[in-house]
Symmetry: D2
Subunit: 323 residues, 4 copies
Amino acid sequence: MLDKSFNYVTFAEIFTVLSIMLEKPLRGIIPPAITPMIDNDTLDVVGLERLLNRMVDGGVSGVFILGTTGEAQNLSYNLRKELIRQTCRIVNGRISVLVGITDTSFSESLSLADIAAGQGADALVSAPPYYYTPGQPELIQYYEHLANRLPLPLFLYNMPSHVKVMIEPGTVRILSGHPDIVGLKDSSANAVYFRQLIYLLRDNPEFSLLVGPEEMTAEAVLMGAHGGVNGGANLFPRLYVDMYQAAVDKDFDRIAVLQSRIMQISMSLYTVGRYASSYIKGLKTTLNMLGICSDFVAEPFHRFGHAERETIKKGLIELGIEV
Amino acid sequence: MLDKSFNYVTFAEIFTVLSIMLEKPLRGIIPPAITPMIDNDTLDVVGLERLLNRMVDGGVSGVFILGTTGEAQNLSYNLRKELIRQTCRIVNGRISVLVGITDTSFSESLSLADIAAGQGADALVSAPPYYYTPGQPELIQYYEHLANRLPLPLFLYNMPSHVKVMIEPGTVRILSGHPDIVGLKDSSANAVYFRQLIYLLRDNPEFSLLVGPEEMTAEAVLMGAHGGVNGGANLFPRLYVDMYQAAVDKDFDRIAVLQSRIMQISMSLYTVGRYASSYIKGLKTTLNMLGICSDFVAEPFHRFGHAERETIKKGLIELGIEV
Amino acid sequence: MLDKSFNYVTFAEIFTVLSIMLEKPLRGIIPPAITPMIDNDTLDVVGLERLLNRMVDGGVSGVFILGTTGEAQNLSYNLRKELIRQTCRIVNGRISVLVGITDTSFSESLSLADIAAGQGADALVSAPPYYYTPGQPELIQYYEHLANRLPLPLFLYNMPSHVKVMIEPGTVRILSGHPDIVGLKDSSANAVYFRQLIYLLRDNPEFSLLVGPEEMTAEAVLMGAHGGVNGGANLFPRLYVDMYQAAVDKDFDRIAVLQSRIMQISMSLYTVGRYASSYIKGLKTTLNMLGICSDFVAEPFHRFGHAERETIKKGLIELGIEV
Amino acid sequence: MLDKSFNYVTFAEIFTVLSIMLEKPLRGIIPPAITPMIDNDTLDVVGLERLLNRMVDGGVSGVFILGTTGEAQNLSYNLRKELIRQTCRIVNGRISVLVGITDTSFSESLSLADIAAGQGADALVSAPPYYYTPGQPELIQYYEHLANRLPLPLFLYNMPSHVKVMIEPGTVRILSGHPDIVGLKDSSANAVYFRQLIYLLRDNPEFSLLVGPEEMTAEAVLMGAHGGVNGGANLFPRLYVDMYQAAVDKDFDRIAVLQSRIMQISMSLYTVGRYASSYIKGLKTTLNMLGICSDFVAEPFHRFGHAERETIKKGLIELGIEV
């Protein structure tokens, strides 16, 4: 009993320390890391080290693992847990680590969260359950139940193209009142939605509003967003950090130059092939060509073949990048 | 080395035995079982026994666990595995056991499949991965890779409302050529789609075509379907078995009587409340009122409150059922 | 004043006569006629005569002009009005004429309806307004206002793929109480929806339930539908009339033979090309090859080129039809 | 023959004059005018005068009639034509007049365009045909055929929520090469889409990129858009013109103040009631309370009742506006 109480106190203390570590609101570029893999059940740990160190060197504020870009849903739980452990070990407190716990099973979300907390991660991220489509009142109840049980602060994750439901602005407003719900990442690309969030949360300056699509990060930051969770920052972290800073500084000459490059990357590297998986395959192929990690993609997807690799290569050459 | 080879042979033999057990094509009513639960992590084993025994007594051909009606995606893996074990134990070979292994993670699907095979289940069922939307060529590759690795025959599961993609008729036709893909359950409610399947698979009489929505089972069987995976057979298994038999017998007087009752059940018990979860909550509330099992629903959903229970009760009374 | 009153009485009498003419419920095959055209503003009157006479000879109960198959929305109002006039002239009371008045503009719907009534058409058909998506209460109000102003009985037209909204079963039930709303054509292909309609309207035997997709007409009629509005009946009216009769007679041997042929037609002639317009282009190309009418398609679509024509030709040869 | 040739020359000359009048690229605020009506077939001409004069006084660059906000699809063609005539008469060259010719019928689009040209309008606007969903190659062909036949320059109109298809960035790029296609209005609210357009059209500085949703106009202009087609400019034209100018001036303090007010308007006046029509009803009710015009809404919609009016009134009072 003494032990238990002692542990509880210690855990609370750790939690306090972690909470202090997480900037409120979280700002800057937080790349949604791809998951380097050797095969369907094996992490490419060396590749992960190169990927994360490059991000830290590039000036990012944090890293978000096990998101959509990270193929989280396609990975086994063992691999997800290994990724959490290795990421926390490699990052070692240099930047914030956000861990995706999005799951259709409440219990599995909690299990991932406990491992993240145990390894020293800073926050959790969760999109709505994505098999059965919940209504908004069901979503509110779900996130409140979840946040009540989590050992770390939670970011909401709006991703309607994959989960079939928006976390509506009014729902976000209600949930933002929960002490452990500290921000939202929006991947809807819907600028009206995002402006509504900024407006509705104007009295809550600690609530972090982050935007997913890199094409719209500059304008979102100009209008009040706190940062971007941009896939391209896997490839060229410094570029996205510079863009973020240019937007913070309202340096429009610099924004124009950087935005143009970001659009070129987005339109040449993410759109090879015909399916929703083109974006992930494009990122991994590029990283592989840059010598950072394996281009293995988890089932049900498969790495690009020769023709698509050549197209990516051509895109990189047009970007002036040697491969 | 000897041991290994010995085990392998044994396994192959078991597999052969199991394959013989599974009727080809599988016919009749195979209820998609709800999952009786005491709380979010605990199976209601006594309830499960009552549920399954009632199904067997009702004349069903098999039971399908861990489908959409079974809230599979909302359950922890421990609970899913426990459900497989308990179901196989209770059924004990009296009917076929089909186990849902639908998962976004290929590895977790394989893991569930191995447990199902180890416990003596008869077949597996898998809807497409449901977070990232695959294209049809990606689906073909996915199912072929999956079937190559599975220890039991596989049923495809078309469920576009939940997984965002149809398994198109041409895709089914290609996959039906795989020796271990033995059937399809269609929950799209799309009669044109189903007619196209029947037409395209007319040369493959062993391929089982099963229909999900109970409202259309009679007509589907009249036109060549092999059976129904009907949720209402959790409640009144004999009724659905009788309807199936009436359709096989082309006994239209009997069909008219039974169809009318099935429609009354569907329109009064599944549509209480406002969300996609109404159907599952309605089934569980009714089963609870019938004294069969708990009405607990896994997160992110929650059992009906008093008002909805009263509406269900009224529906049952109108059906002439004492509660 | 006398004149006015006299006119009113006359009009009411005519209306009564017309109402008597329309069978209640309307039964059988009512082809949704394609619109034969010479160019974007000119009807192919000779082609229309051949088309309609062939339908009458084939035993259809009526013809439905200005539906989706008729490209109604793509035609100028002058052409629509000319089509109404010519159709009524050619048909000359031999079968019922149903005229589509689906329009986003209430006033234009009324205008088309008045012309239809003036030319001696028997009934009107209207899908929901299709630019702004109405809610169900808005739909109820819309159809009631419309029916109150129409000079002929009205069929509802459920076509969610084109108009973005279902006429939900509860809405149909309410509207079926209006004395001038006499039936519904369902093109959703959703068998659960159609079964719900049959169930909800079981006490209204005069309300005609017609099914659009020819692939599901047989089973719908077996289960209580009154007929089919099947596109293929433009091509081979007798085949669809025979199928309808076989379903009425519950002659399953005959259904099997005819259904197989209908599936072959549907899967070989309607799916050439890649867009939603393939079905209309396929029908018109086939009719052109059969020597019935021009294959001109109204803007924004265009007739098939050589390659697609060859594919259609091949399909017809496989069907044993000389071209 | 001489006459004909003379007319042709004259017409070409007029067209040249008109083309010179239209700023390239068109910049600023171009309100999508509501259509003031007395009843379903009668324009509220006095209301229209007040509405348009207020816009001109507010500093708008043009007015867009017969768009989505203008209920174009719900109006009879007579009313649409009357609206074109009255608008051109009232505006009398003070600002540009853009006329919506969006129609499912190519011929009716041409007919509206001819009237617009005859009355001295400056440009035309067309969303894709919205009943049958065209593919992108069909869209390209459609817009090229249309532009070839139009007497005035054409703006594309991206409105996927109503017409079911995006005019994809690659399609816009191809169409922007047509000499008479001079711009695009985007109502998708998709910021990634809009950034792609800006990037793809960076070498075409005369092509006007206008954004529909007022909530995102400021950021769009900051990033390179030329203006906004904002519904709220019906109510308070000066506010939106000021916002546009603040964005052009990169005056962030002023943007913050104006954006906050625009969000307050949007979230309190457009979201009363439950259907897609709430926005139009909200605009008309507010204009009626401001003493500008009738609040009549064309079928299938209907003006707000007492309760909704009170909610709008409350919103206006909170905005500090006397009614």
